[in-house]
């Protein structure tokens, strides 16, 4: 056993990595198209972005899959499991108390996934019904907030695929999650559809250990460079099939 945070020093930048020569990225699979498996690789929008950071640091990126709650609570950083977390993760105040975020890199909002022709057009159609959410996500928080008002039951799933499958099996009548992933799912499974978006104005950020300012600076710098150079747009188009509306 080694003491926490005795990784290698990246000369000059003051960045300490938990494993030498590697940029270990925590995420929670699968979160298509941000990070998911294709063949025997993990790919996705987030993966490509972090690769830019890794390239900049002259190391290779390694993806580490861990329960989502252990990312948002900061456990993965405190126990030295990874350097940063890119997990389609929305920046919010609660999480900011546990971890530090990069500048926002993606605009998202919450959306409602249902079975096709279910007649469920919004939360108002869900009285007495079951709504699936993913553990420790903004969607869960949002669904919980509105549960009393609209009289539905919130059902929590460990990961996105389980939640999405539950919509198809009918275990839940609808599910709330980020729009990006739900549209992607509905495209792949035409028996489901996204019937509503909730304008929550979420912004994704890359997470890291609280107080790791050196790394934050580097990530912000890389993100800014990518946006300026058009590299960001290329990556966006690769995964979403269109150019971003705003940056």
């Amino acid at each position: 056993a080694t003491k926490v945070n005795t990784g290698t020093q990246d000369s000059g930048s003051g960045i300490t990595l938990v494993q030498s020569g590697k940029l270990v990225t925590c995420t929670h699979l699968s979160y298509k198209p941000f990070q998911f498996s294709e063949g025997d690789k993990t790919v996705g929008f987030d993966v490509d972005l972090v690769d830019l950071v890794a390239k900049e640091l002259n190391v290779t990126q390694e993806i580490f899959d861990t329960p989502f709650e252990t990312i948002t609570s900061g456990e993965v950083f405190n126990t030295g499991k990874c350097d940063l977390a890119a997990a389609g993760m929305t920046i919010n105040d609660e999480r900011k108390q546990a971890i530090d975020f990069s500048e926002p890199y993606f605009d998202a909002s919450q959306a409602l996934l249902t079975k096709k022709d279910s007649g469920i057009k919004g939360l108002e159609d869900l009285r007495g019904k079951r709504v699936g959410v993913q553990l420790e996500t903004v969607g869960e928080e949002y669904a919980n907030e509105k549960a009393a008002e609209f009289g539905y039951t919130v059902v929590q799933f460990e990961d996105l695929p389980l939640m999405e499958t539950a919509v198809r099996t009918g275990a839940v009548d609808a599910a709330v999650n980020d729009n990006g992933v739900l549209y992607d799912y509905a495209k792949e499974f035409p028996d489901t559809e996204v019937t509503k978006e909730f304008d929550t104005g979420d912004k994704y950020g890359i997470g890291m250990k609280k107080g790791n300012t050196a790394l934050k600076a580097k990530v912000d710098e890389v993100l800014k460079k990518a946006k300026d150079s058009g590299e960001y747009d290329k990556i966006y188009e690769k995964w979403f099939g269109k150019k971003p509306e705003s940056k």
């Binding site: 948002t72 460990e158 499958t165």
Partner: protein, 274 residues
């Protein structure tokens, strides 16, 4: 010779106590006690878990386990009788079932059952049915072999006595074999109830609403809000509240029935018999 054996034994025993003391001391000095208390015995967090950890989580764990056990016992009895049947296809079906479900992790079964089967068969169960099926299917595989072994452990003489009094095969089964087998299998069955209680920690995978949380899910949920091991410790103690008394019961029953040992897969490995 400096020390006699007896003296050496005394010294050895003293050394053991000393070792214990040294280890305790090292642990005491090495560990960060403030951190440990925060991590393990945070009373605020513990207090915040009550009463829900009991009224919701513990209750649900009990309900789920009971449902799974009841269904598993019924299915297990059917499987046991199938395995003892003179009709070969019944034996094959029972054997394949038991081998398969004993050989794969419960988590895999739960995933398959709650997500695969509804898709494949266009069926939809409510939460209680799903839990009952999931835990029951896993439990039945344990229990089938126990029940079969229990039935076979009923002395042959008891059956011969019943038959020679004119009882039919079915009547003998109902009047003599099952009642006696039941007393034999009560201890291992209690034990399988413990295993099932622990397996109920996996049903979070099927997706649970807040008021359906069982202990482990409840603990994880609290853990993600307050990063301390206290929630884990609290729900761990709740499990012991169930499993320790059951363990005592099992051992008491076994002593009472004279500790007649039957060969069950729990004690002898996966039951593979044709």
């Amino acid at each position: 010779m400096a020390l006699s054996k007896r003296q050496r034994a005394k010294v050895f025993r003293g050394a053991q106590y000393a070792l214990l003391a040294v280890i305790a001391l090292v642990l005491a000095l090495a560990a960060d006690w403030g951190e440990i208390q925060r991590a393990f015995f945070n009373l605020d967090i513990a207090a915040s878990m009550f009463p829900n950890v009991i009224t919701v989580a513990l209750k649900n764990t009990l309900v789920y386990t009971a449902l799974g056990f009841a269904f598993g016992l019924a299915l297990g009895l059917v499987l046991a009788l199938m395995k003892l049947s003179s009709v070969a296809p019944y034996r094959w079906i029972a054997t394949i079932y038991i081998e398969f479900f004993r050989g794969v992790p419960a988590l895999l079964v739960f995933i398959a059952l709650s997500f695969g089967v509804p898709l494949a068969f266009q069926l939809q169960f409510d939460i209680y049915s799903t839990v009952m099926l999931a835990l029951g299917i896993v439990g039945a595989a344990y229990m089938a072999e126990t029940i079969r072994a229990g039935i076979q452990a009923v002395p042959k003489g008891q059956i011969e006595a019943a038959r020679s009094l004119g009882m039919s095969q079915g009547r003998t089964l109902a009047t003599v074999v099952i009642p006696q087998a039941f007393r034999i299998i009560l201890p291992p069955l209690t034990n399988e109830l413990i295993l099932l209680t622990k397996d109920s920690s996996l049903i979070y995978i099927i997706g649970l609403a807040r008021e359906q949380y069982e202990l482990t899910k409840f603990g994880r949920e609290t853990l993600s809000r307050s990063p301390s091991l206290t929630p884990i410790l609290v729900v761990g103690l709740c499990y012991l509240l169930i499993t320790l008394p059951l363990g005592y019961l099992s051992r008491y029953l076994e002593r009472r029935t004279g500790g007649k040992k039957i060969s069950t897969p729990e004690s002898t490995g996966l039951g593979v018999s044709a």
